[in-house]
């Protein structure tokens, strides 16, 4: 793989072969060593993305780059509809609008320690995780579900499952426009229709954490983060409904791509022009799935509030406030460099810098909150969007730590150990549907999120604000 160092944390892959544009990636020395160890497989995936028609220079990956399918994880690519730019479901991922929501509270860590066990139980009972459907006391009929697909989180808030303020602190107000439930297949409804308000499995989780360190007082104040205070981080997406939307349209696009003269170097990059009947249909279905995901995290936040109340925290005295909810698997039309482009983010976070009109007023002077989960044993980070990100990465930043072990390797490493007990000995209570997920998601299976944050902060595409450490982990 041919690349050159541009600055301390930034590298450029010059255009060659079928690439339409240069590519660029961000990495610390440690991250670079990891890329070399995998024989630059994820950089090859990045170079593949750069072959897609209408891509705006450069094709990018964030510092949490790792090997995916089609696009690498951490991939960011913008396409210009005026120049034959394409939309690729594989550039968004099967879990459309997978994302994170952070809740803040005024509860102190010491206070929480006293009710930690009952709270962990209440969260595990109240927030469905693992395989299966949502809570029996929450069911939506088809008409109401379609309303959610069009309107996102708002219909739930109107029914009492949250506060109006939650919507203001959700990316795009918790709704992508242009959704059309008719663009979603019956199988997608069947797979995901009853899964609203569920975490799922794999790397999805709910964590109760405390603010361990603050790096930027001004931004932390704007975000409402206080040292030692309790936060809750929710990671989930569009469940079976979104998975099926991606599945349906990848197959359709594979058939359609040759008709538009699109030569695919990897079938999982299946793409069609944004301005084509197939492309427009996908965007309508994708927006529907994205809205389902916003609503999913809204409902999980409501169940979380209920669980805190059940554990003895009066909601009047100890409200849980949504700091922000954001997507890290999405495609959105945005203005960058004076033109309207469709920005694909696959395992990357929108990270708008200060002064952007769309941000809530109280965050506008410091930049958008960027939530970067680490692993369940160490820490997660809150960053702020920067002008550097607006200039260099289409307003994007990192989304997580990135795995370093395969799931199989992690299970081998966990053999003969009790990972759950090890975490409990370290002060972290774990509630999980099965042992397999806990083993696969063990701390050592992930890169150190601090390395990702070092490169992100160092490259100026995200500003370090605070570090959060886990106290309770709920997994599928």
């Amino acid at each position: 793989m041919n690349f050159e160092r541009v600055s301390e944390y930034k590298y450029r892959i010059p255009r060659e072969g079928k690439m339409e544009v240069d590519a660029a990636f961000y990495a610390s020395n440690e991250i670079l060593e990891g890329l070399e160890a995998e024989n630059y497989a994820s950089l090859q995936q990045l170079a593949n993305v750069a072959t897609l028609p209408g891509i705006v220079e450069p094709a990018l990956t964030m510092p949490d780059i790792h090997w995916g399918y089609g696009f690498p994880i951490g991939g960011v690519a913008a396409f210009d509809p005026q120049k034959g730019g394409v939309v690729s479901p594989g550039g968004i991922g099967f879990d459309v609008n997978c994302g994170v929501r952070l809740l803040t509270s005024g509860i102190d860590r010491e206070e929480l320690e006293r009710r930690k066990g009952p709270l962990a139980d209440a969260l595990y009972e109240g927030v469905p995780s693992g395989m299966g459907v949502g809570r029996k006391d929450f069911r939506l009929g088809r008409e109401d579900l379609e309303e959610v697909l069009v309107e996102g989180s708002a219909p739930l808030v109107e029914r009492g499952f949250g506060e109006v303020e939650d919507l203001r602190h959700t990316e795009s107000g918790g709704k992508l426009s242009g959704a059309d439930p008719a663009a979603v297949s019956e199988r997608a409804y069947k797979r995901g229709g009853s899964q609203l308000g569920t975490l799922g499995s794999g790397n999805h989780f709910l964590e109760v954490q405390y603010v361990d360190e603050i790096y930027d007082e001004e931004a932390a104040r704007a975000f409402g983060l206080g040292a030692g205070r309790i936060t809750v981080l929710i990671h989930s997406g569009s469940r079976g409904l979104g998975h099926q939307v991606c599945q349906d349209y990848v197959e359709r696009f594979l058939e359609a791509a040759p008709r538009y003269g699109i030569d695919l170097v990897d079938k999982q990059l299946a793409a069609v022009p944004i301005e084509s009947p197939e492309g427009e249909a996908y965007l309508r279905a994708m927006a529907s799935a994205a809205n389902f995901a916003f609503a999913n995290r809204q409902l999980i936040a409501h169940f979380t509030r209920e669980a805190f109340q059940k554990a003895g925290y009066d909601p009047e005295e100890h409200p849980l406030r949504v700091l922000y909810d954001l997507a890290h698997n999405n495609a959105k039309f945005e203005e960058h460099g004076g033109r309207r482009v469709l920005v694909h983010r696959k395992g990357a976070t929108r990270a708008f810098g200060p002064g952007i009109e769309e941000l809530p007023e109280e965050y506008r002077s410091v930049g958008q909150p960027v939530l970067v989960p680490g692993d369940m044993g160490r820490y997660s980070f809150v960053l702020a969007g920067t002008e550097g990100a607006m200039r260099e990465t289409f307003g994007s930043s990192a989304h997580g730590a990135g795995r370093k072990m395969s799931r199989r390797q992690a299970k081998k490493a966990a053999k003969g150990r009790n990972v759950k007990r090890e975490m409990e000995d370290a002060g972290i209570l774990v509630r999980a549907a099965g042992r397999a997920t806990v083993d696969e998601e063990m701390s050592e299976a992930y890169k150190d999120a601090a390395d990702v944050i070092e490169a992100t902060n160092g490259a100026g595409i995200g500003r370090k604000v605070a570090r959060l450490r886990p106290l309770i982990v709920v997994k599928g």
């Binding site: 399918y69 099967f94 693992g130 079976g240 998975h243 199989r408």
Partner: protein, 141 residues
């Protein structure tokens, strides 16, 4: 032949078999190995699956996605399959019919290991040489 791959973010496997039908049967077995620690071996339920696709790769992706749909959304764990595949002359498409036997989904008993989002087309090739049929599949989990 099933060989599990070490994919960093997701899971994958390489398959080998003497016929295309056997390759698809190996794919079914590999999927069960991904989903369960202790996949069931016997079942009394029955189902029939019919699929068609423009090419073998798409047929394999649809076959795996159908299996995961049956497990996750219909509670039917396919423990055996009698598969027939018909390929149109000139490579214009292929069709599969499979008679499945299945067991009910028992998460704890089988050691459920997590959901499958989808089979992917990433690096997917179904090939045939002197040694038989081969495929390599990555699943998003």
């Amino acid at each position: 032949m099933i060989r599990m791959l070490d994919h960093t973010a997701d899971v994958g496997f390489e398959l080998g078999a003497s016929s295309l039908e056997d390759l698809f049967e190996e794919a079914r077995r590999a999927l069960l190995m991904v989903v369960f620690e202790r996949p069931p071996k016997e079942g009394e339920r029955a189902d029939t699956v019919r699929l068609s696709a423009p090419d073998r790769e798409t047929l394999l992706v649809r076959w795996l996605n159908e299996q995961s749909y049956l497990i996750q959304d219909a509670g039917f764990v396919p423990v055996g399959a009698k598969i027939q595949i018909v390929e149109e002359a000139g490579g214009s498409g292929c069709a599969l019919e499979a008679r499945l036997t299945g067991a009910p989904l028992l998460l704890e008993e089988y050691g459920w290991q997590g959901e499958i989002k989808s089979a992917t087309f990433h690096g997917l090739d179904v090939t045939n040489d002197d040694e038989g049929w081969h495929a390599r599949v990555i699943l998003d989990v």
